[in-house]
């Protein structure tokens, strides 16, 4: 892989928010922050793995990269020449005025997948393909395999009509099927074979990048091994780059060169596969690794698990988004009023007499109770062991005035991704300490 250094895709500060609509007029009442500022690059012939729990935004990123979702904010550049990358990097440094706004716009117009049109857009579409998770849903049940696999060839007019079928057969042979499968319907195939058809379709236009969205989740281990081997062989032969999205850590460890771990729409850790598996920095990555069973690891070691659920992505926590479940949360992780509710709502009767909450921002709130006793109960709970010490340290104001309780926290900034050597980075206040 001589051209391994060429960046094929750069994802820059991508945000994708979905509106929450309510009522007869479908008024927008909030935004689900599915993807909230994600950066990563994919180089030619490289596999980048995207891991995370369900709901962390990994599939949304995949769909954004494949051009299936319009971005809320940010840019995705495809096939950007290296001099243009340097220009963009210069422009990110605020003090550097060498790069003009026109230059940036010009780069956007010719490489940003959200802005390019015409031939440029066709070039991107031909070179970026996608394989979906559920091959039942992604192959049309009314089309023959020959139609499905040859469709990209026909749409992009890459060869004369009489060559379409021979090329289709060639594609099927590359994925381990053959001419005898041409005139069958998808339902006549097993799960593994259907996934092979999806891969053949993605290969049809000889792309540079394939987005693989959980390609083996629906398959058995023996078939999964076949598909993973096939994907690797194709990558070696054609110099493909993969964006490999999965929740299975052993699969990603086997397949990926680089890993991006996501949590609640944000990247929490990114780096080389070996580094992350050997020496995870972020507590979330550590918990994920501990929780996933492995045939190699000791049976006796217990499965460390995380408490609680993922917070509502429509109201992501300020500061570090993982701190609500983090076993090693620190004062500077940024605590807020919602944490009081999160921690105490499981205690019976504390919030039963709550009349109203006057919340000016995430860090200040005034709880009004129906009775004074209930207010005192909250005060007592705030001082009890239900509230972690790290959180108590950040309380700047806590007083009780009859049935009103005022709670204030010291404001905190969003935790940035901090570089921690050998090209990996983690979004945690504990890194490098």
């Amino acid at each position: 892989m001589s051209s391994a250094d060429k960046t094929i895709l750069s994802v820059k500060n991508v945000k994708k928010h979905f509106p929450i609509k309510e009522g007869v007029f479908q008024k927008v009442v909030g935004q689900v922050h599915a993807v909230d500022g994600v950066n990563f690059d994919i180089k030619e012939g490289e596999t980048v793995g995207l891991v995370g729990e369900s709901g962390c935004g990994k599939t949304t990123i995949g769909r954004c990269v494949a051009g299936l979702e319009a971005l809320t904010e940010g840019n995705i550049y495809f096939d950007l020449p290296s001099d243009k990358i340097a220009l963009l990097e210069d422009s990110e440094k605020q003090d550097d005025k060498k790069v003009s706004a026109e230059q940036i716009e010009e780069i956007g117009n010719s490489y940003d997948i959200g802005k390019i049109e015409g031939d440029l857009f066709n070039h991107y579409r031909r070179n970026c393909q996608m394989v979906f998770q559920d091959s039942f849903a992604s192959l049309s049940p009314r089309q023959l395999v020959s139609d499905i696999v040859s469709r990209p060839l026909r749409v992009h007019n890459v060869c004369p009509e009489n060559e379409v079928i021979p090329r289709t057969i060639n594609l099927l042979e590359q994925v381990g099927l053959g001419a005898q499968h041409l005139y069958r319907f998808p339902h006549q195939f097993s799960g593994g074979q259907r996934q092979r058809i999806s891969i053949a379709r993605a290969l049809a236009l000889d792309p540079k990048l394939i987005v693989l969205d959980e390609p083996t989740s629906a398959l058995d281990v023996s078939v999964q091994a076949q598909i993973l081997n096939l994907l690797h062989d194709l990558q070696k032969k054609r110099g493909l780059a993969y964006l490999f999205i999965t929740h299975n850590l052993s699969v990603i460890r086997h397949m990926a060169d680089k890993i991006v771990v996501m949590y609640l729409g944000k990247v929490v850790e990114a780096g080389n596969t070996e580094d992350i598996f050997a020496n995870p920095q972020h507590p979330y990555t550590k918990a994920l690794l501990a929780a996933s069973p492995d045939l190699q690891s000791e049976v006796t070691s217990g499965m460390a698990a995380l408490d609680g659920a993922i917070p509502d992505p429509a109201r992501p926590p300020q500061g570090c988004s993982f701190r609500t479940r983090c076993p090693v949360a620190q004062p500077e992780c940024g605590w807020e009023v919602d944490d009081v509710v999160r921690r105490l709502e499981h205690k019976d009767s504390i919030f039963n007499f709550l009349k109203e909450v006057d919340q000016s921002d995430a860090f200040n709130a005034k709880f009004t109770f129906e009775t004074e006793a209930a207010a005192n109960q909250l005060m007592a709970a705030m001082k009890s062991d239900d509230i972690p010490d790290a959180m108590k340290k950040m309380v700047s104001k806590l007083n009780c005035d009859a049935e009103h309780v005022t709670v204030s926290f010291k404001p905190a900034k969003t935790v940035p991704l901090i570089a921690c050597g050998n090209g990996s980075s983690a979004r945690c206040v504990l890194v490098n300490k």
Binding site: E53, S54, S190, G191, G192, D220, V221, S222, V223, Q224, A225, Q226, L228, N229, H232, D233, K236, H247, L249, S250, V251, R253, H254, M255, A287, L288, A290, A291, S292, P293, D294, L295, Q296, V299, G302, M303, A304, A305, L306, A309, E345, H346, K347, D348
Partner: protein, 406 residues
């Protein structure tokens, strides 16, 4: 239905709680009979966690469903075999003193497959309970959590409900009749109306409170925080892990002797999966419940199970202690499965996949089912069925069905 089979295998130590022998479940299809489960035999020891592993379509779920008579007939056909189950109940014939029918254990032994609908209903949810794969589909979306968990008590623990309500002794005549109707949810218009007014409404409220208490205890058992509030919610308001906890609460509400867990964590994230597994394991230890754990995930099964049976195309190919099977697998299929798991030691692109596909189970021919994919195939593999036999004389619990070890 001779109960001798329950002590058929001399290789197992300890008491058996259930014994499946030569179970055959077929399904009628247009192309012919599908032999989904074709002569499966295994035992479950009291208090152990037995794992049943296999790939899609190997018949593991069908085996589990046969325990509860949940196979729809037709198209299903129970073609033979038996599932003997020993419940905590006293033997009806000898009332606990021990006789031939119960192999001198004093406990009732029944063949689950030959029970009538009414008899199996008594066992379902009470002595044998099941956790299903997808909690989103297994819970009724139209009922609150409270009423779904309460069903178990209403069906099996009527006396407990009255006892907890403190009206077990004082009930008489009409009150008793009405409340029983109420608990069994068999009320009609008139009884409903009567229960709305005193004196019956007072007793009804007590019963309601008792049921609520039982339900919230059951939910609290599965570490559901704030059980009293969760009770009033509908399934769609809960997360996947929470729904699975409700399912578990439902299953263990009556403290069953045998719990069948059919891929309980497949629909969950790894971190939640770890929690739910810890919970099942913990409950199993505390209540001394036996668990039949069904999964396709080998590494999970190795973590949680004491013994494992590996299934392939409707037959058990290997069975033994979990540790033995994973460290020293004998059957070529088990070996292939373990090697196919991606791991650190494999070079990329060099996973040892099992070539080929699972054979059609429609009217299968004689011979080893794995022969078409097996690398160590011999001449007689295509001709006769291998039998499940002990690998060596020393370790009789490790059995394999393969001609290589004969």
């Amino acid at each position: 239905m001779s109960p001798d089979t329950i002590y058929s295998s001399d290789s197992l130590s300890g008491d058996l709680i259930a014994s499946v022998s030569d179970l055959k479940v077929y399904f009628q299809s247009k192309q012919g009979m599908v032999h989904s489960v074709d002569g499966v035999s295994f035992d479950i020891v009291d208090g152990e966690m037995m794992g049943l592993v296999g790939e899609t379509g190997c018949g593991k779920s069908v085996t589990a469903r046969a325990f509860m008579q949940l196979i729809q007939t037709p198209p299903g056909v129970l073609a033979g075999g038996s599932i003997h189950f020993k419940s905590q109940k006293q033997c009806k014939k000898c009332t606990g003193s021990g006789c031939d029918d119960c192999s001198n254990t004093g406990r009732e032994i029944v063949d689950l497959l030959s029970l009538t609908e009414r008899q199996i209903r008594e066992l379902r949810g009470d002595r044998i309970a099941m956790i299903f794969q997808d909690p989103g589909k297994a819970l009724n979306p139209g009922l609150t959590i409270r009423s779904q968990v309460a069903e178990v008590f209403q069906e099996h623990r009527e006396s407990d409900v009255f006892e907890r309500a403190g009206i077990a002794d004082t009930m008489s005549g009409l009150t008793s009749y009405l409340l029983k109707q109420y608990v069994r949810q068999e009320t009609n218009f008139i009884t409903k109306l009567l229960l709305k007014f005193p004196p019956f409404s007072l007793a009804r409220k007590k019963v309601d409170k008792a049921i609520n208490g039982l339900v919230s205890d059951a939910l609290a058992e599965t570490q559901i925080p704030n059980a009293n509030k969760i009770m009033e919610r509908f399934p769609h308001e809960l997360s996947g892990g929470m729904k699975q906890r409700v399912m578990i609460a439902q299953a263990i509400a009556c403290n069953p002797d045998l719990l069948i867990a059919d891929e309980p964590t497949t629909a969950l994230d790894v971190t939640v999966q770890a929690r739910v597994l810890d919970l099942i394991k913990d409950l199993q230890k505390r209540h001394k419940t036996s668990v039949l754990y069904i999964s396709h995930d080998l590494s999970l099964v190795r973590r949680v199970c004491d013994r494992v049976a590996v299934m392939y195309a409707g037959k058990i190919v290997e069975t033994g202690d979990a540790e033995t099977i994973f460290i020293n697998p004998k059957h070529p299929y088990t070996q292939g499965l373990i090697k196919a798991l991606p791991s650190m030691t494999h070079e990329r692109g060099k996973l040892e996949a099992i070539e080929g596909m699972v054979p059609e189970l429609i009217e299968p021919k004689a011979g080893c089912r794995f022969a078409s994919r097996c690398k160590q195939k011999k001449a007689n593999c295509d001709k006769t069925d291998p039998e499940l036999k002990a690998v060596s004389n020393k370790d009789k619990s490790h059995k394999v069905s393969c001609f290589l070890y004969e």
